[in-house]
Symmetry: C2
Subunit: 330 residues, 2 copies
């Protein structure tokens, strides 16, 4: 019998990760650095010194997929590579400490681009109190490829899987700004403030750390895929569903203004846009009052037993995923 040939786009990232998680591994025995949580959250958790657990994660950016050298400078790409990784630490309620960076560069790329890249990365590290402590630079026969690994620490990391039906659902800021910024870049609309949201995301380390230190969230993640998909990521891990209020989703005035001019629906951008790097978190009913007093935290809905619904003036309807799949054929 011949083996069926399956290109990876038909298998998908979820298929691959699911398969990978099913592979049996023996976890190494290290009395000092025991693994507390492996694959499946924003970062892995390793027991460490005193109450300070270690958080580790990595995220890659590829030219032509995640950025475009016509639209993003070296410094933009460096900042973003640092920021999206630091955001994974923020998602656990931790503080970033150290970054490692591997970068594959075409031999003909300008030195200025490479210097800009590292300056941007170092700027993101500095902004969030981290340092670049190692890396690898190699040649690329094709596009620029960047991978950053981050090490952070946290006394009380928050995972994705602790929420339950009845918990309130919050976000830590406006949504859709990054998607609007990307469209502005693509159409050369020149709305710099929005473009900056896309090119220079601001991971929410301070608020994430504050929430985790107070033991508030039952589950938390950083929003990279878009609200409709990120809610599923949190709910899949916590085995529940969600109902959100369309009117409660925070959308900035600049996004509304841009959408009005560009003939776009702001709610669609906020729901499916992605790359906002706000935190999405769940809170048990008895702690909701505490959160409502915190700046930037906006309640957008409630976790329910099953299914995904959005309530608007038109009534209650299920919502789908408008998210981006890495290996999708489209």
């Amino acid at each position: 019998m011949r083996r069926r040939s399956v290109p990876i786009r038909d298998w998908g990232e979820r298929g691959l990760i699911g398969w990978l998680r099913r592979q049996r591994q023996r976890v190494p025995f290290s009395p000092a650095y025991r693994l507390l949580k492996g694959i499946g959250d924003d970062a892995a958790i390793i027991a460490g010194r005193g109450s300070g657990k270690l958080l580790v994660s990595c995220d890659a950016l590829v030219e032509g997929v995640h950025f475009d050298r016509q639209r993003a400078s070296g410094a933009d790409v460096g900042w973003k590579a640092g920021a999206v990784n630091i955001s994974d630490i923020a998602a656990m309620g931790g503080r970033p400490l150290y970054l490692l960076v591997s970068v594959a560069l075409p031999a003909g790329i300008e030195r200025a681009w490479a210097q800009g890249f590292f300056r941007g990365l170092l700027a993101a590290a500095r902004r969030y109190g981290a340092a670049v402590i190692g890396g690898d630079t190699v040649a690329s026969p094709g596009p620029v490829f960047v991978d950053v690994a981050v090490i952070g620490e946290c006394a009380r990391p928050v995972m994705r899987d602790g929420a339950r039906a009845g918990d309130a659902l919050f976000v830590t800021g406006t949504l859709g700004d990054s998607a609007a910024g990307l469209i502005s870049l693509q159409r050369r609309s020149g709305v710099r403030a929005l473009e900056r949201h896309h090119l220079r995301p601001q991971p929410q380390v301070e608020i994430g750390h504050l929430l985790a230190a107070k033991g508030i969230p039952t589950a938390m993640l950083d929003m990279s895929d878009g609200l409709s998909r990120d809610i599923r990521n949190l709910c899949d891990a916590s085995r529940c569903g969600a109902q959100i209020q369309a009117g409660a989703i925070p959308i900035s005035r600049s996004v509304r203004r841009f959408c009005a001019r560009a003939g776009l629906d702001p709610l669609t951008l906020a729901l499916h846009g992605g790359e906002d790097y706000r935190l999405l978190f769940a809170v048990s009913p008895r702690k909701v009052a505490v959160v409502t007093e915190l700046e930037h935290c906006q309640r957008i809905g409630t976790l329910i037993e099953k299914g995904y619904y959005v309530q608007s003036e038109a009534g209650i309807e299920p919502f789908g995923e408008g998210a981006w799949s890495h290996f999708a054929a489209e």
Copy 2:
């Protein structure tokens, strides 16, 4: 004044790393995880729990630069990505614990290739007592990119910079096997045993750990660039030179036999070949006797004040670098 445009191949990896090291960074304040050694060795060192320091490093492999899908299977590439990173931990005398992997795959690549890749990576991790605890899978519009970050632990890490003139220089095994294997693959000579050295390198974790635990090496590294370059890497860090004996360089019978048939010079392969992943280490004169008794450790020369010389039947002559530069134009 116009800025001069400099493509990165004219700047080189050393130029880039030198520039990067000169960028000022504020090292984060973490009482639990203080940085002991940043950029510049095989791995960065972080103070940790009890006597167990943390070692962290990353290394990338790019299709068309570091491997070729015609010659290397997915499992070969996965093994090698894990092994070269584990080797960086071996170079410090540590034990690997955890791996993170980012991989960029073309959408049309076979699922079997991707599964093979992860199986190879997991096999390398398992062989050396480590586990894969996280990663990122993304699409690539071009070649396959792989980056692995490794976390290890070590009570007494050995750096590159502790050697001095008068120390003896040792390697932990034969050299040139990987280079001969690569030539066999390129010429389709089919010498599987040598090809395996190239495709499935074996990091020397056990011997590295033993040497470090006994406090034997004054400096150590893993040999990826070829002896002539790796000696310089060690000597540059330790501010000394080296004189080696051509006749003392360990070369396997299979390399000699292959070279005789293929019309190649075995010493050239051993000196400049690269990717053997043996350990190169220096030992102070009073500890030389201990090492000579250890299996696989072969003395190849002595560190001197300055310069690089090889002694053979023809006399003493300086030796150059035959190593591979990542951004070289050739």
